[in-house]
């Protein structure tokens, strides 16, 4: 009886506090996302938008003109991701481990210096590296010459065999600060008692890192991996800034983002096709969704967490 009288009031403040974020997020993210998915089911015939169901997807995967480009872009994207996972994240972890060393001098300086490229615009990074690596004005040939390794120099960005790897490494250079910062924070949160207890047991320095710190920062590494995955499969800017929308040489640096851009907005004489563009965007969304789901349900749920 008295329950009814004392039923808690509807908590309006929750709605009020949530509203701005929900509204903004809906307007700039959720609505465009679903509209893109919807757009991929249409095509344009004689200035009219017509519903065609999954025909655009059949074209994308069934017609070689489209599917060749799609698989090429997807393959390149995987390579882009693999380089980040193999180079960026281990280096990030190593840097964090070194930075968290209590006796390292100028740690704050190194931390900022390594993190700064992350906040630079892609255009600046792309342009600066293009100049550094340029066979004509660049300092790369000169520097290699100075140490007698001129023969190792090649116009990397212009060679099909090297261009994508080179750009991946440029991207690694730019973003290595992010895993470094996240791991650094995770390392700092490991209580000293645990390390001291280990020291008493005779586990020090490197083996302390492998046996104690690494297992404790695994959840952070998982988060970094998934962030890298999402960022890499959404990447576009660096390739566009360095190689243009045709992602040369011979599409060897074409990733899903540049393929989508070229199709959606058109390029040079190629007129934009928003419907095929949306189809590619939907495929990208699906790939990222699957990747994130595998991580969430397959990996994160099994990961052990330690509470201090």
């Amino acid at each position: 009886m008295s329950d009814q009288h004392h039923r808690p009031k509807f908590r309006w403040h929750i709605v009020v506090f949530l509203a701005p974020a929900v509204l903004v997020y809906t307007a700039v993210m959720i609505y465009p996302l679903f509209n893109t998915l919807r757009l991929s089911l249409f095509t344009e015939v004689d200035q009219e938008r017509v519903y065609v169901g999954l025909q655009n997807f059949r074209r994308l995967f069934g017609e070689t003109v489209w599917s060749d480009q799609f698989w090429n872009a997807l393959g390149n994207n995987f390579w882009f991701f693999v380089i980040h996972m193999l180079v960026q994240n281990p280096i990030g972890i190593a840097l964090a481990a070194i930075l968290s060393h209590p006796r390292l001098r100028f740690a704050a300086f190194y931390r900022s210096a390594i993190f700064i490229p992350t906040i630079l615009s892609f255009v600046i990074v792309g342009f600066a590296w293009k100049l550094i690596l340029s066979p004509i004005w660049g300092i790369a040939p000169g520097m290699l010459d100075a140490v007698g390794l001129k023969s190792l120099y090649a116009p990397w960005l212009g060679k099909e065999a090297y261009a994508l790897t080179t750009l991946s490494l440029v991207s690694v250079w730019q973003f290595v600060g992010i895993p470094m910062m996240l791991i650094y924070a995770a390392l700092l949160s490991i209580p000293d008692e645990i390390l001291e207890a280990a020291e008493v047991e005779g586990i020090t320095s490197l083996s302390a890192f492998w046996k104690i710190k690494l297992p404790l920062i695994l959840p952070s590494i998982g988060i970094i991996s998934i962030l890298t995955f999402v960022a890499n499969f959404n990447a576009f800017d660096l390739i566009y800034a360095a190689q243009g929308a045709l992602a040369g040489p011979d599409f060897s640096t074409d990733i899903l983002g540049t393929f989508m851009y070229r199709t959606f907005f058109g390029f040079q004489l190629q007129l934009g096709d928003p419907h095929m563009g949306s189809t590619i965007a939907s495929a990208m969304f699906a790939i990222i969704l699957v990747g994130v789901c595998i991580y969430l349900f397959g990996i994160q749920s099994r990961m052990r967490r330690y509470q201090f």
Partner: protein
């Protein structure tokens, strides 16, 4: 209540504004040529307004890369200007088909233009015209006169002479024979393939035959330019694979290269940068005495928004754009962008004079990939960029390139099937 007052005030202000400008019609011009803003404001607009009191012009350019998207959204929203600068071929044709550009076939000024000049802005059957041709760019080779004098070279007229000159420059070693890179891709196609190609496919004759399906990209006339391009690779500077368009421009204007395959649009920029004397020669022909063909590519047109409130004033302006007075002002303000009208024009810049003089010596054509052929997927223009680069780098044989392009074109273009 406040609302109705506000609306009243707004209405009143429109009436007042309308009354004030009742005598003067203002035409707003949409354009991507923001580089030309000063020329329009200082030369073109005053000249027009002095002659046509009662019509005011307002030139409102946007950034070139954004122009198509901005214009499309403005047209859809009904807020676009009265006069619209037209990109050549399909971009403008799409606007006309969507009802955004007015049919101006019966404009008096149209009589001053040749069919080639008009082809960039007419329907596929050439029956309807929707933009007045404004300017074209001519392809050729610019060279460093000082370097040529130093090495005792003459302007090459035939291919044999051309490669002999390149060999000599390479042997001497003080200059890079030719400044071109393949990083940005379009140079290889635009300044390479479409620059030298017309000599092989005989300009309009070959281009129209390709459009009609009578010739194929695997024919000798269309593969031979690739064969010449394949030889270019040896004469480009070290690391040309990663050399960009601005790199090439700088290498040439700094005097480090002898020859620069290009188009006339570079003239005004290069005049300011190079401190040596520049000359130009048209693409060398195969055998001495052959007719030469040049790519005289239609680049800028100007048309009328179908939804304009002032169609009469807009037509007056478009007619004036077709006149020799406009042609003279425009051509001299922007050496390298040549007026397309048949009206006589006097040019002052010597390099520009050289380029335009080829119109008398050679047959004009436009870039082969622009009309109709780049409408489908795969896009022939983009494919040509890719193929030209691959051929120059030696990664694809000229025959394979031709076969690949033909296969792509035939996949969607009915006359080639």
């Amino acid at each position: 209540m406040t609302n109705s007052k506000l609306i009243g005030a707004l209405l009143a202000s429109t009436v007042i504004a309308g009354a004030a400008s009742a005598e003067d019609v203002t035409l707003t011009i949409e354009s991507w040529r923001n580089d030309d803003l000063a020329i329009w404001q200082n030369e073109i607009i005053p000249a027009f307004e002095a002659e046509h009191p009662g019509i005011k012009l307002n030139f409102t350019p946007s950034a070139p890369a954004e122009y198509n998207a901005v214009l499309n959204s403005k047209l859809d929203a009904g807020s676009a200007g009265d006069i619209i600068t037209c990109r050549p071929f399909d971009a403008s044709l799409a606007l006309f088909e969507a009802g955004h550009l007015a049919d101006i076939s019966d404009l008096d000024g149209m009589a001053n233009f040749s069919p080639v000049a008009k082809s960039g802005w007419s329907t596929d059957d050439a029956a309807t015209q929707f933009c007045v041709p404004m300017a074209s760019v001519i392809h050729g080779f610019i060279y460093n006169k000082d370097a040529f004098a130093e090495l005792g070279l003459e302007e090459p007229a035939t291919e044999a002479e051309f490669f002999a000159a390149l060999d000599k420059i390479k042997e001497d070693g003080s200059y890079i024979p030719m400044a071109m890179g393949t990083n940005d891709q379009w140079e290889a196609a635009t300044m390479g393939y479409n620059n030298i190609g017309p000599n092989y496919w005989k300009g309009e004759e070959g281009r129209l035959a390709l459009l009609a399906g009578d010739q194929k990209l695997t024919d000798e006339a269309w593969v031979a330019p690739y064969r010449q391009l394949a030889k270019w690779g040896d004469y480009l500077g070290d690391g040309f694979e990663a050399q960009t368009y601005p790199d090439s421009q700088n290498i040439f204007t700094l005097g480090r290269a002898a020859i620069y395959p290009t188009g006339s649009w570079e003239i005004s920029g290069f005049n300011n940068l190079a401190d040596f004397e520049m000359g130009a020669f048209y693409p060398p022909v195969q055998n001495a005495g052959d007719t030469c063909y040049i790519s005289d590519h239609t680049d800028i047109g100007i048309g009328m928004n179908a939804a304009t409130d002032n169609p009469e004033a807009a037509k007056t302006f478009l007619n004036w754009v077709g006149s020799s007075e406009f042609a003279t002002i425009f051509a001299n303000a922007l050496p390298g962008f040549f007026p397309l009208s048949d009206a006589p024009v006097t040019l002052e810049d010597p390099l520009a004079q050289e380029f335009i003089s080829w119109r008398g010596e050679c047959e004009s054509t436009i870039r082969s990939t622009y009309q109709v052929l780049s409408r489908g997927t795969p896009n022939l223009e983009n494919e040509t960029w890719n193929a030209s680069v691959a051929v120059i780098k030696g990664e694809e044989s000229p025959e394979d390139a031709g076969a690949r392009l033909q296969e792509g074109l035939a996949s969607w273009y009915a006359p080639q099937q």
